[in-house]
């Protein structure tokens, strides 16, 4: 029996100039005891549909036509009905557990208030119920944690609290909007297991919204694929992922980095930029091309970094070892991957390599020179131009008040102050061409570009000094999967043509597998193992690596 029926649902955002159709004629049915996934890239309207069910669409969005039936009741008809359903019959989980809880109320206060809003029971009964719920979602010492504030919980624990809040009045429908996107792999799998378990035990109907095809493959029974507000395809998960009918679904599936094999390039079906890539990029003419020498370009020996908690630290207990005695080498012309969960120290290592942090102890050799021993800024500058960095967030890593031209010109002028303005312009155009952006982009501002295009601008800026080592810190984790595939292809091409050495940092194992020749696995600042990529994936030695590999969501699991 169909529990929730979304009928021809359309949602419009009336803007000053135009009306945006965030969702167009969506039809989705959900049964009890079933997890239905909605997958799509950002802006595809997947969250809008979920918010429409509980009538929490952001202003100025409105349901323009269609209906939503829960059982026999049309819940989209009357806003009064849906207010009573919220929390009682429908539970919601949001993406970021850091921001979904009120910071100045204790977890218990928030649970009791929610329970008492819907159920007519005394505070003591509500408290008992809340403690039982916290235990059920896997929070130890629930009685004690009950009176803690949200900031006293870790990210994964907070998401458990959020789930307990969503489930506290025994809803029949659970809507989870990217419930694990902000979490590490190991916690992600725990949370997804929890949702699966609760679905079974309580016979819930679940809508799981995500952009992660691996999560879809491992968790959902059926999946709906959305693009630009259209429902592209819906069906049993296996059928949709293995034999996609629509071209878009095919391209989405093919952009997902496979977890079980290494491929040379991603197949791109729909391209963000239409101009074709030619193999002889002009920037090569400017490149003081160095043939690859068979040597270790970067040597890191016994590197450690500790952060003191505060200026007035009274004892050394408060100091945190972010990086603890790490050693590895990077061969010139190769890609080296650093993998680990949040807080494992991978970004700290990157910042020490590019000399933004001073190591507490240990040495970094670049081209056989000990960089940590250089004292003069002038000497350091020589190394800085050879090492460039690409950051995770393309929105905050570009200065919004400078034109693209000025952004790229800055490093060129810093390292080559005498360059003529004509030559500078051509240099910039060549750089833009190498990242497949048009010459017109030079006179525009960053906000006029999409996330993927911005990341291209970051790459062009990094290439401006003709570096030998490129440090990429999660360069694609803020991007949609199809854009990610394009950026990764671009990085591979550039590496091949410009003889770049890459230090690639990511928490995403499939991506690292596609990009890197050698991988180091980090945990709590310590190195677990370093080995060749294929060796690591096929034959992991360290227990932590094994666990990570086991837990990562695999799109291939659908074939089993």
């Amino acid at each position: 029996m169909t529990f929730l029926k979304i009928n021809n649902l359309s949602i419009d955002y009336k803007m000053r100039k135009e009306t945006v159709n965030a969702a167009k004629n969506i039809n989705i049915d959900i049964n009890k005891g079933e997890i239905v996934g909605i997958v799509g890239e950002s802006g595809s309207g997947k969250s809008t549909v979920a918010n429409a069910i509980v009538n929490l669409i952001d202003e100025p969005g409105k349901i323009s036509s269609g209906s939503i039936f829960m059982g026999e009741t049309n819940i989209s008809e009357n806003p009064e009905t849906i207010v009573q359903y919220r929390g009682k019959k429908i539970g919601l989980i949001f993406q970021d557990p850091q921001t979904s809880l009120n910071p100045i109320l204790t977890v218990g206060e928030q649970l009791i208030e929610t329970i008492q809003t819907h159920l007519n029971i005394s505070t003591d009964e509500a408290k008992n119920k809340a403690i039982n719920l916290l235990t059920e979602v896997g929070i130890k010492e629930a009685k004690k944690r009950f009176s803690n504030y949200p900031h006293q919980f870790s990210g994964g624990m907070r998401q458990r609290v959020v789930i307990s809040l969503a489930l506290c009045c025994e809803p029949e429908l659970l809507i989870a909007d990217e419930p694990t996107t902000a979490l590490d792999v190991s916690i992600q799998s725990q949370i997804l297991e929890l949702i699966k378990k609760l679905t079974r035990e309580r016979n819930l109907a679940v809508i799981l919204i995500t952009h992660d095809m691996g999560v879809i493959a491992e968790t959902t029974d059926r999946v709906a694929v959305m693009k630009n507000g259209d429902l592209v395809e819906i069906g049993p998960t296996k059928q949709v992922l293995v034999e996609p009918k629509e071209k878009y679904t095919k391209s989405l599936v093919s952009s997902v980095p496979p977890t079980n094999k290494k491929i040379s390039r991603f197949t791109i079906i729909e391209k963000e930029n239409l101009n074709n890539q030619n193999n002889n990029i002009k920037i090569l003419n400017r490149w003081s091309k160095k043939s690859i020498v068979d040597q270790n370009l970067v040597k890191i020996q016994n590197l450690s970094k500790s952060f003191d908690d505060s200026f007035f630290t009274e004892n050394t207990k408060n100091s945190v070892m972010a990086v603890d005695d790490v050693s590895f080498d990077i061969k010139e012309g190769k890609s080296f991957g650093l993998v680990g969960e949040s807080g494992s120290g991978k970004t700290t290592i990157a910042k020490m390599v590019v000399n933004l942090f001073k190591p507490s102890s240990g040495d970094i050799f670049f081209d056989n020179v000990n960089v940590t021993k250089i004292k003069k800024n002038k000497d350091l500058l020589k190394f800085r131009r050879q090492i460039q960095m690409i950051f995770q967030d393309p929105f905050s890593s570009l200065n919004g008040r400078l034109k693209v031209k000025e952004i790229i010109a800055e490093p060129i002028k810093l390292h080559n102050p005498n360059i003529k303005s004509m030559d500078l312009d051509n240099y910039i155009y060549d750089l833009l061409e190498s990242v497949e952006l048009s010459q017109q982009s030079a006179i525009r501002y960053p906000h006029e570009f999409s996330g993927g295009q911005r990341q291209r601008i970051s790459i062009a800026r990094a290439l401006a000094t003709q570096p030998r080592l490129l440090v990429c810190d999660e360069p694609t984790s803020a991007l949609d999967v199809s854009i990610q595939a394009q950026i990764l292809n671009l990085l591979k091409d550039l590496q091949e043509q410009l003889n770049l050495t890459i230090l690639f940092i990511s928490h995403d194992l499939p991506v690292v597998r596609q990009m890197c020749d050698k991988i180091a696995v980090l945990k709590d600042g310590k190195l677990c193992e370093v080995s060749e990529t294929e060796e690591l994936f096929k034959n992991p030695k360290h227990n932590y690596t094994k666990e990570l590999l086991k837990l990562m969501p695999k799109i291939e699991s659908i074939y089993n």
Binding site: N102, T114, T117
Partner: protein, 298 residues
């Protein structure tokens, strides 16, 4: 600044008498000795003797203190309570005639100088309507250590106009701050999550949103109470309020340096104390700074 001796003595005083007075006041000593003497005495709470009134400055300040403190506290109370209420109202009902009206009037409050508002109030309530006194503190009851005007009808009547005048600027400030905070917090994920759990609008607005919104307001309001003490100079002058500000203005006219320096040191002390109290208040309001490093992993 002129010679303070000239202000202190009559015209017929002879040069010898002037020199003698100068000697007793220590005005002939070199500057650094005068200054270190000032610092040592100030740390003991002694600011010397007023040139004009010929009484110890600390005594004068203590005598005038209750009037100013009462005025400042009452206007801070008015500013906080009505500012928060109006701010919450305009933050929740963003569109609507009343919200627009409150905001428009609050603009007036920011842009009109205190003395203009004070004079307008006097004209309206004291001259035309004749319901409230235009100057003074009314009848005062002496409690020994403290003289209060809050216990008599005439005292209460007298404090209305000056305290409202003084509070207007701060009130508009707080309205706008609370409004901005409320609007921002109502957009946050935890408010959306609270809505999704079916929590009532009343609880969302006043329990979830307002509590969070008041954290920055307390910082600003704390600093502003210090500003109120400083601003009270003008208000006290307009309403002839016998407080420290009025004392200060008179001291400026007579170049009464001991009073001026004592007043300024006192204001600085008030600012520091208020900031200190606000920092301690934070501990009780924001649980996030209460315990450090108590995050369990998991």
């Amino acid at each position: 600044m002129g010679d303070p001796i000239n202000n202190m003595v009559g015209e017929e005083t002879s040069d010898e008498e002037r020199a003698e007075l100068r000697e007793t006041l220590g005005l002939t000593d070199p500057i650094h000795i005068q200054f270190s003497r000032f610092v040592v005495n100030a740390s003991k709470g002694e600011f010397g003797i007023s040139y004009q009134l010929r009484r110890p400055v600390s005594e004068l300040i203590i005598e005038r203190l209750p009037a100013t403190i009462e005025l400042v506290l009452i206007s801070a109370l008015i500013a906080l309570v009505s500012g928060t209420l109006l701010g919450v109202y305009t933050g929740i009902n963003r569109k609507g005639f009343l919200s627009d009206f409150i905001l428009a009037v609050s603009l007036l409050g920011v842009s009109l100088p205190t003395f203009v508002i004070g004079i307008l109030f006097i004209y309206l309530f004291a001259v035309i309507l004749g319901v409230l006194p235009s100057f003074g503190r009314g009848e005062v009851i002496d409690l020994g250590f403290w003289s209060t005007g809050l216990l008599t009808i005439s005292g209460l009547k007298a404090i209305i106009l000056p305290s409202v005048t003084l509070s207007l600027f701060q009130m508009t400030y707080i309205i706008r701050l609370v409004r901005a905070e409320m609007m921002e917090i109502l957009q946050t994920d935890y408010i959306k999550f609270a809505r999704a759990r079916g929590i009532s609008e009343k609880s969302i607005n006043y329990k979830h949103a307002l509590k969070n919104g008041l954290i920055p307001v307390i910082t600003i309001a704390g600093i502003n109470i210090g500003t109120l003490v400083a601003f009270s100079i003008i208000t006290e002058t307009v309403f002839q309020w016998p407080g420290m500000g009025f004392l200060f203005i008179q001291a400026v006219q007579f170049v009464d340096i001991p009073i001026m320096s004592a007043y300024l040191v006192f204001i600085a002390f008030v600012f520091v104390m208020i900031n200190f109290i606000v920092d301690i208040l934070y501990y009780f309001i924001d649980p996030r700074i209460r315990v450090k490093g108590d995050v369990t992993s998991g």
